[in-house]
Amino acid sequence: MELSFYLVQLLNAVQYGFLLFLVASGLTLLFGIMGIINLAHGSFYMLGSYLAYWLTDVTGNLWLGILLGLPIAMMVGYIVERFAISFLYKRDHLYQVLLTFALILIFNELQQILWGTDVHSVPIPSILAGSFQLTENQSYPVYRLFISAACIAVACGMYWVIQKTRLGMIIRAGASNREMVQALGINVNRLFAFVFSMGVALAGFAGMLAAPVDSVYPGMGENVLIISFVVVVIGGTGSIKGAFVGAMLIGLVSTFGKVLLPEMASIMVYALMAVILMWRPQGLFGRAA
């Protein structure tokens, strides 16, 4: 194979890494920063994809669909936090596992009631529908580059809010010591409800943006859930930088794994995780326990 072949694969790898970070961003916030084990992450992603499908169908425009879909996703997040998650902050993690597992089943059922069992897709908005020629017979869709750009924006935005702003400081403080932050006069209940809604909105946003390059079908969230956890665990909980590096590493290993070691393609990512956890149990950028 020629050099150009590997360059295109490198592009694929980086692009896949970006997409993975975007897909895992909601989980990074809820699990990575806030420490809530959220198995329903895939369901929120699926919710986003179906909202994009439904609202694009109704309004005829993906951007309008996203604009209308985000508040809905936030509202769902708020309701779930107020009526379910908020009761469990003080309890063992196992309760969160059980509760969010139940949410998966509930959301799957709701999805089927609302949208049925068909496979759907969302058209790429016409201004981004083009593609450019990569090699003599392969071209590259512009929309994929747009996803990468959106991912960079989300990554920078998250990093800035969490690391550089007062709000981010309070969130981090609230996650590590709830009572103390409350004692300092901050309404932690409201804060957590807000952050949870944001986490759900992020997961939904990823689902909406990915919908035009993916297909929208029942159970799609399950494929997303595990790889998102791998991203956060490799990067180390509590670190947005970590999740970003983790996503990039997975993109590289998975893409070149497929090319160079096709028989091992399905286990490469998990092997990478195992090796990293043996070397650094807290993940690449995680705080040592």
Partner: protein, 403 residues
Amino acid sequence: MSEKNNKGISRRDFVIKGSVATAGLAAASVLGPAQFAIGAQAKVKVGILLPYTGTYAKLGTNIRNAMMLRFSEAGNKLGGRSIEFVDIDSEAKPAKAQQLTNKLIKKENVDFLVGPVHSVVGMAMAKIARGNGPITVIPNAGANQLTGSLCAPNIFRTSFSSYQMGYPGGPAMIEDGHKRVVLMYWNYGFGKQVAAAFKESFLPAGGTIVKEIPTPFPKVDFQAYLTELAALKPDAVYTFYAGGGAVKFVKDFAAAGLKNSIKLYGAGFLTEGLGKAQGNAAEGVRTILHYADTLDNPANHRFRAAFKSSTGAEADVYAVQGYDAGELILRGMNAVKGDTGARAEMIRAMETAEIDSPRGKLRFSKSHNPIHDIYLREVVMGKNQVVRVAAKAQDDPAEGCSM
């Protein structure tokens, strides 16, 4: 954690089955006494094990609805007896297959068992049902073994074997003039069997496999493979993908601009029932299947209209397989006038049945697998149009079946 997960699952199951059971009880308390008063025969019990949730939900729903349609056309009577359904969601989960099959056979004592969609669930089911179990009709699962090494007098299939899905593809592609071909498929049991059958006919006919690319199941990140495909520059690519994966593959293939230089072929699932989701990307894609929406025969026209009016949805190959499963059970029961005790006679009637199916003529092999025509189809204006018959009366070698 996994233990907790299991608990979660079984609790949900309990709710589903519980509600089915309560509904059954309620029905029994209303209908029961009246029926006994007029001295009707006991009902025939039909157990259904199909997926109604997850990726295969639509397949399961269409199969069930089409079978119900066939029964209701026959007045909801099997050989003069009323029918009682025990309908269970298999979730297409192999881990639960054994437990759910046992529930239907041992606890519910069903006379007929219909299911499943997923091949691995099918293997678990067939292992329990074969021999003395209920008469079993498989309306989708394609594993060769189901009418091969696991074949049994009481097990029938109305769908296809993976062999029948792959084998006719080879000569069809040669006839279309494609000799250098890349083989791409989901790397699991069914995908591997389809690929093996394809090679079995393609290589002796003078074809060359440029490269075989098995991709992890059920992953849908195809970008790296498409780049490889572009670099290999074959005449055509033969694929096996289904459902959400098929939509993504066809769209990614078109988005990568490969349609201009490489012709896309596949087992029929690649474009079956996915027209709306795939849109323009699927135009010109050729697939091989034992059915096409556009088949011009009276049985197909009648069936499609009836399915549409009873369910509101368009019929697809899965619905046809469910419809024929219903027909096959009817043939058996009508032949013995509802006497489920006359098992040998019923099986004889079923295995010699010649059905005027929406797919065309349908008969059964010695191993109880369908013998039917296989069509080469091309997507034109969003519909799978028949190009030609790729294989007349395609049989299956039934490897390992001693019956």
